[in-house]
């Protein structure tokens, strides 16, 4: 039996056909990826509470699991698991029960495309340290964030009460608005790499020397897109300062108001899984994924340099970005709804769009061997002119207020 071409496209695991060992490896990889994501969520929630506590001169979780409260999240999870689950009278029972799953399954599936390490061999088969390498690559991420939206929307609607409905309408509007800027930020990287596959993108940023840090990782050549990606990713995952979906002063608990017990925990989990996936995607697209200097004094094909070092670099980069999200959460106040929409529609989409055009011009100039000292300033100058014209066309804030009066 041969695997369909769609699966065999990337991973060398399928090169020799499908036999029981390959199936076993796939099952191991699936379980490992799921466990890894779960552990990362447990770790992240603890990490976030500890770091914010430090920033605010508090102690933070300090009881469960020793002095540092490492097991606090697990304890919270167990508590939620044993709580009663209620379904409100006005709810649509089937959709109400379905919504948490619609939220959590796409969150996991999106994580499956993340390359965690390089090429390794398990049970005599060569394979990539990533669950799936489909040809559509990052498009899977966009598709899954589209499906994840259903969880939020249906949770709010099926609760049969007003605050959850308002929360979910907010969430959907926010997700749809920021998906445009998010997608455009990814396009700049795709133009550079010339492939959609996450493995291909990581390979294009492979580590050759210390120069790779600035020259082959895309965060320098696509810096504007990198910043836009980070902002839009936080907005897509509804994390502070964009967590208007659950602004408790305005909406009680947003779309999760009526949820209790493990169903609530699933939404909570999905939200943090999304945040971790987004950070991991940012590492993959802009920071070279698992690429980094190997230990020169050990053999290049040994276990340390094929298994450990790529994973070490991946998790180090991930940790830096995750710390960034915690920092933002502790520092910035929640935005107002109109500020959120202004930022998304009037700034991020425009700038991301212009950045894509500049990237395209620069790449064509490189392929055609045009003089880069003329083309790059001209492209950037043209971009600023375009942005200025767009700004001038927009109605001023005072005009808008007059209109509303």
């Amino acid at each position: 039996m041969t695997a369909p071409q769609s699966l065999a496209a990337g991973d060398p695991l399928f090169a020799g056909g499908v036999d029981p060992a390959v199936v076993l490896i796939l099952i191991i990889k699936t379980v490992a990826a799921f466990a890894l994501l779960m552990v990362l969520v447990l770790f992240y929630i603890w990490f976030m509470r500890k770091v914010i506590a430090d920033m605010q001169n508090r102690v933070g979780p300090a009881r469960a699991g020793g002095r540092y409260g490492v097991l606090q999240t697990l304890a919270d999870g167990i508590k939620l698991f044993f709580k009663e689950q209620s379904v409100p009278d006005g709810a649509d029972p089937f959709v109400f029960r379905l919504a948490p799953y619609l939220s959590i399954i796409p969150a996991f599936l999106a994580f499956s495309i993340i390359p965690i390490g390089g090429e390794v061999s398990i049970l005599g088969h060569t394979t990539y340290l990533q669950l799936a390498d489909p040809a559509i690559g990052v498009l899977l991420l966009l598709a899954m964030s589209g499906i994840g939206l259903y969880g939020v929307m249906l949770a709010g609607w099926s609760s049969g009460s007003k605050y959850p409905l308002l929360g979910s309408v907010r969430a959907s509007a926010q997700l749809l608005s920021y998906e445009a800027a998010f997608g455009l930020a990814i396009v700049a990287v795709l133009l550079h790499s010339g492939t959609l596959s996450t493995r291909g993108i990581v390979d294009a940023q492979a580590w050759t020397s210390w120069d790779s840090f600035a020259t082959s990782w895309y965060w320098t050549v696509a810096f504007v897109s990198f910043v836009i990606f980070l902002i839009a990713a936080i907005a897509e995952t509804n994390h502070p300062p964009f967590d208007l979906v659950e602004a408790e002063q305005e909406l009680v608990g947003g779309f999760v108001t009526e949820y209790t017990g493990i169903r609530f925990a699933m939404f909570f989990l999905a939200e943090f899984m999304n945040l971790i996936t987004m950070s991991a995607i940012a590492v993959t697209l802009f920071l070279g994924g698992p690429s980094g200097p190997a230990l020169g004094f050990l053999s290049a094909t040994g276990t340390v340099n094929t298994w450990l070092m790529p994973m070490f670099w991946f998790f180090t980069k991930l940790l830096v970005l995750l710390f960034g999200t915690v920092w933002v959460r502790a520092s910035l106040p929640r935005m107002r709804y109109d500020q959120l929409m202004d930022l998304g529609w009037k700034w991020l989409i425009e700038i991301a769009f212009v950045a894509v055009m500049v990237t395209a011009v620069v790449l064509v100039a490189r392929n055609e061997a045009w003089n880069r000292f003329v083309v790059v300033p001209a492209a950037i100058g043209g971009a600023f002119c375009l942005l200025g014209i767009l700004r001038l066309c927009m109605p001023r804030q005072s005009e808008l207020i007059e209109e509303e009066v």
Partner: protein, 181 residues
Amino acid sequence: MSEVVIFFIMASIALCAALGVVLARNPVHSALLLVTVLISIAVLFIIQDAQLLAAVQVIVYAGAIVVLFLFVIMLLGVDEKESLTEPVKAQRPVAIVLGLVVLAEVLFLAGHQWATGAQQSRGSLQVGDGGNVERVARSLFTDFLWPFEVTAVLLVAAVIGSVVLARRSNKPTIDDEVETS
């Protein structure tokens, strides 16, 4: 072999869900079943090695269009007691006849040469180099560049048109007075 098995599983899910879309009383349930149909068709695309089509199907149809349907349904509210009397007489027999005609047409076309020349939609996928995504991109930006650009202009025109229609002018209109009073 696996292709046939997956086809029968996904096709039966798609057909059942499609029946559900028509028969469900609650519009939100209909919309959800519509998403099921779209996703099972996306799986069918994947076993035909048309991965890009599958991704676009999920992103555009399931991720955007049905979300907008749901948005409208949720904002307007679900009316459980919708009347089932038809304003247009003889709607049902005409619909049945037209449906049968379309079915006959599809069956007829499936056995014959396509107007576009390709015997099967699947054939050219096995020819040439690069994956499905690359090949779609290449033909989109070479042979079909002109239709592609024209479609883009059409969509921009539609967007601008809807903005112009939705934007209120400075002068108060009759609608505004009704709203404020």
